[in-house]
């Protein structure tokens, strides 16, 4: 009987974990963040400034060509990024995904996060 309960608990835990994993991190973006628009999108220097932010902070994991490492660090030229709103991306940069290895970039000034998003849009 004890073994039965152990198997049941393990199965339930695995199921919960699978459900959690199946939910995209961006699905959890609050509505007020989801609808935000990049205030620096039209700024002429945003893409150039964003590329420097990318080079300094992101290229070490996601590679200079933003194609990721083919393993844990995902490509940033992807449908996932294209379909996300500016607000989704800013929220994700600010929050990170600590459990899956993505640091929070909340200490990067917000203006530079928006510049980075402008750069990411430019390379899609």
């Amino acid at each position: 009987m004890r073994r039965f309960f152990a198997v049941l608990c393990l199965t339930a835990s695995a199921g919960l974990l699978l459900c959690a994993a199946a939910t995209s991190h961006l699905d959890r973006v609050p509505q007020k963040d989801h609808t935000r628009i990049n205030p620096l999108a039209a700024h002429p220097e945003s893409v150039a400034a964003g590329s420097l932010v990318y080079r300094d902070h992101c290229a070490q994991c996601h590679r200079a060509d933003a194609m990721g490492d083919g393993h844990k660090k995902p490509p940033l030229r992807s449908e996932h990024i294209r379909s996300a709103t500016d607000g989704d991306l800013e929220w994700f940069l600010r929050q990170g995904d600590l459990a899956h290895g993505m640091p929070s970039w909340s200490s990067l000034p917000e203006a530079q996060r928006w510049q980075l998003i402008a750069y990411l849009r430019s390379i899609q």
């Binding site: 220097e45 945003s46 150039a48 400034a49 964003g50 420097l52 932010v53 300094d56 902070h57 070490q60 994991c61 490492d69 083919g70 393993h71 600010r94 929050q95 990170g96 995904d97 600590l98 459990a99 899956h100 290895g101 993505m102 640091p103 929070s104 970039w105 909340s106 200490s107 990067l108 000034p109 917000e110 203006a111 530079q112 510049q115």
Partner: protein, 299 residues
Amino acid sequence: MFRSFLPFLRPVPRFLPLILLCFVRLPVAQAQEKPYFVTYSHDLEEPGNLEIETKTALAQPGQSHRYGAIASELEYGATAWWTTELYLDGQATAQDSTLFTGFRLENRFRPLMREHLINPVLYIEYESISGADKTLLEVVGHDGQSDLAEPNGEARREHQHEAELKLILSSNLKAWNISENFISEKNLGHEPWEFGYALGAARPLRTLGSGKPCVFCLEKFTAGAEAYGGLGDTDSLTLRDTSHYIAPIIGWQLPVGRLSFSTGFGLTSSSLDRVYRIGWASELPQVGSWFHSRSGGGQ
């Protein structure tokens, strides 16, 4: 007064080109950390990155000789929520001696996986240092300048095995980082718990990236201040005979690392008059993957 510490910096130019060459030849990343010397924010090391940092303290206790103490730090991002560090400490005192004063192992954990208004970090450290340690990486209990004035020969005989716990609370508000650290330290040999604090606030001088590579542009500089001091111990939970400092700080992000400066001003009679600090940090990206690549497991 700073000029009197110049002899301690004399050996640095001899080795500086070699040190810089090492980092020029290696890929480097730019860290998120603030230029605090005592205070911790909730910025952890990026996973897989190794930061090599030195923190130098230059001071002169009253009625004693001036000294220079250095803490060399290796900080590794084990995961996005766990950073582990090794410190090696040493010091040189004028008209006395130069000695290695011990090591520290520390770990910082972020218990909450989301960013909040106030972000807690749990800090646990083991220290095996001698009484001659003068790096002033924290001030606790009734630490004062008299502890730093003892001759090295006497001070090194006291060996301290200590555990230190910190609760780090940190917020990023607009471009500001505001951090509060609550420190408790226990000598594992039947000594009372000692308490201390560190507070810091810092912000970049310009938040908008300039769009072209530059070394002297304002977004490369971060300025702020930190305050730190002792809060007594369990035998004497009072501010009497405690040391307190306030220290403006400035950090400069260079292509090969981060340079930081601070001058701490003592606020009580137990405090040192001034503590000059110089820091250098350079971050090697994705160190773990170097070994994976060599063993054929890399991409």
